[in-house]
Structures are given as C-alpha cells and as structure tokens.
Point group: C2
Chain length 228, copies 2
C-alpha cells in the first residue's frame, strides 16, 4: 500500500489547534481565543456561540457548565454529551476527547465553546458513519465494518495496523469482540490522534519521522489514559 493513501488521513474533524500543538506543551502559534476569562461568570451563553450554531449545542453546553466558568471540564463534558444523546461514553474516551480537542495553550483539560462545537460536529459525523455501518442495528460494529468506517472518515490504515487494532479488541481467547460506539470512538480517536502527531513530525510527508526519546514518549503517553 502506498504511503500516500496508507497514511495521513484527511482530518476535517480534528481541530486545527490539535495539529498545531507542540510536544513540549508550548504553542507555535498564538491561539485566537475569545477574550472572556475562565474566572468570568456567565448568565447567558448565546453570545459565546456563532449565530448558526445548532441550538442543541448551546443548550447542552449551558446546562452542563454547572460552575458557569464558560468551560466544560471532564465531568461537565460527560454531562453535556449525555444531554446530546451520547450516553455511556467511558472515562477513558472522555479524557481522550478532551486531550484532542482542548485549547492548546490551556494547561487544563477543558473545552471552550469553540472547541465544544468542533467536538460536537465531529461526534455527529462519527455517529452517522457508525450507524451507516451498523446495518443490523445491533449497536455493534465488526472489524470489516470498522475498516470501511475508517475509510469513510478519510483514514486508510495499513493492513498490519488495522489487524493490530482489531486484535486489541479480542476477548483474551482469540475471539474478536464487536465494537460499540464508545469503543469505535476511542479506537478512532487514538488512530487519528496518533496519525496527526506523527504527521506533525513529518512536515515533508516523507512517511518517516525522526523523533527524540523525549518527544516520542510525550507524543504517545497521552493516548495511554491510565486513570479510569
């Protein structure tokens, strides 16, 4: 499989800010973040979102932001997604979503309105793809469907990588477990997130990246969410 289609999934649903994050936590660019501050208290959220934002996005953000900080922290994000019909998302996946969509210059794992809109739209797209491939409405997706779904998300994986991912979902006896939406999301975010991180270190699209030990570890460890 050629490098060009085996790598570098087009990533319309990954925020630009994620790609531009640097390994050492510093940012290469100034993040054009709205002028409101974390300590500010909100009584109305409508001004924080652009007028064309789906009302459900604004409503779920407003309801979930219990401390009226203007940001969604981990438990608040879980609540906001639950209000939007995404129930049963695991702690691990929530943490992964926060890591990928968070404000790059922010040391805390939290989302502002802009990031929440990006995440919400991505989830809607992923849910639609999941439903399209879950033809028997079992709420589960098998490994072949997973491959097709990834393809439709613009992500063509090398066969060896796909097989390895699928093997991560066997139940310990060699039998592959079908994926629920949460696992599909977790799995997809890991693949897309790692691919983007790799691409940051391969600006010339050569298919190779030279990494120092520190950069390698700092790239990879956030995807290994350890706290449940």
């Amino acid at each position: 499989m050629s490098y060009s289609n085996a790598y570098a999934p087009s990533a319309p649903e990954l925020p630009e800010s994620f790609v531009q994050q640097q390994h050492d936590g510093e940012s290469r660019y100034t993040y054009a973040y709205p002028s409101y501050q974390p300590t500010q208290q909100f009584s109305s959220y409508s001004g924080m979102f652009s007028p064309e934002t789906h009302p459900e996005i604004v409503r779920s953000f407003e309801s979930a932001d219990r401390n009226r900080s203007g940001f969604l922290e981990e438990s608040e994000l879980r609540q906001a997604l639950s209000l939007s019909g995404y129930e049963g998302i695991s702690n691990r996946t929530i943490r992964l979503l926060l890591f990928i969509y968070k404000i790059p210059v922010d040391s805390l794992l939290r989302l502002g309105p802009k990031e929440y809109v990006e995440l919400w739209n991505c989830l809607a797209q992923w849910r639609a793809i999941f439903n399209r491939y879950d033809r028997d409405r079992s709420g589960k997706m098998n490994s072949t469907q997973l491959r097709d779904a990834f393809y439709n998300l613009g992500c063509v994986l090398p066969t060896s990588v796909h097989q390895l991912i699928v093997s991560q979902f066997d139940d310990g006896t060699g039998k592959t477990v079908d994926l629920c939406f949460d696992s599909f999301l977790e799995c997809g975010m890991i693949v897309k997130g790692l691919s983007e991180k790799f691409r940051e270190n391969d600006p010339g699209y050569t298919g190779y990246a030279t990494l120092s030990y520190d950069v390698f570890m700092l790239m990879v460890i956030p995807f290994i969410a350890t706290y449940d």
Copy 2:
C-alpha cells in the same frame, strides 16, 4: 538532563525476547523454546521448570493451567497471579504483561513456563520496590515516590515525561491520584516497554529514532489496550 541517564533504563526485568521482537511480527532470531507443543497435555509440571525455580511459581502455574496446555492464557494468568498474592490486577495490566512477556514467535498472547518465571521474578522485584516506597503502608504511592521507585528500577525519566505520566493519574479536577500497585505496574510496564521499543530503533544510542508511520503505529498501539 543528559541523554545517557534520561533514557535507556537498564531493564533486567524485561525479557530479552521482548527487546528482540520485531515490529512486523517476525523475529530476528530463533527462539530457543522447549520442545513441547501447545496441544500436549501435562500431568506433571516439575520437568518444565529448572530445579532452582521457586516452588510457588511451579504450583501457581500448575493450578492455573486449567486446560493443561502448558501455557497460561489471559484468564489463567490472572488466576496464577492471584494465587501468588497479586490480586486485583486489572484486565488492562494483565494484557500488557502478556504482551511484554509473551513468546515472541507465538501469535497468541500466552506465557510458557520460562516466560512465567521471568514475569514472576519481575513482579516480586516491583512489589518489593513498591513496598519500600509505600512507607506509610497505605497501599498507595505518590508522584515523588513513583519517581524514586522508577529510579530504583533503573529507569530515570526526563522531568517532562514524568510530569506527563503523573498528570495521567489526576482525577479530572487537577488533583493527582496516588497510585495503587496495579497502577504502578501498568505505568511502569508502559514506560519500560515503550523505552525498550524506542531503543530497538536506536541501536547506536543516539537518542533519536527514525520511524516509518507503520512502524510507529505498530510500536505504540499494543500499549493502548482497549478491551477491558
């Protein structure tokens, strides 16, 4: 921090076979594995272990190998470790241990007697280190103790990597959670395993590794165990 002490932890407790595994699943060397076959049934296990093996190792292996295959699969390994006093090891950590200690040429995640002895001795060493740093016998270890414990296991991490690992264990509100033995083990196995994999790709100890996209993904994904 210089490369020489920030990287390449000495790894007496990681099996040589793990280091010699190749990314594509092939092996660069012939694995000198005992001549018995997976289909063989055992009535006595003593001949499978060298005479100086701790009797508890033989006993726990024998009791846990319920299908008498001569190997420990995932659920059997959990049982064997439980019999050896390692209770409450999570599915994720068990999977990680299997991945790191398994027979390289074997496509299945399982341990033979030789691998089980290596794992058992490693766990005994890690348990002793954990107990040494858990001075107040709380069964928990904080981030400073974690750093000291890693150091004693021959693994000196760059500060940035250590901080990132610790942040993975915060509870979502910025408060760091102390690590139980299972988390210590998971965390340590991830760090040591990833370091070994990196070192395989840096034979000259330059501190840098050039990785293709496929190799990078295949190196990293096994550490992101997704099935619980």
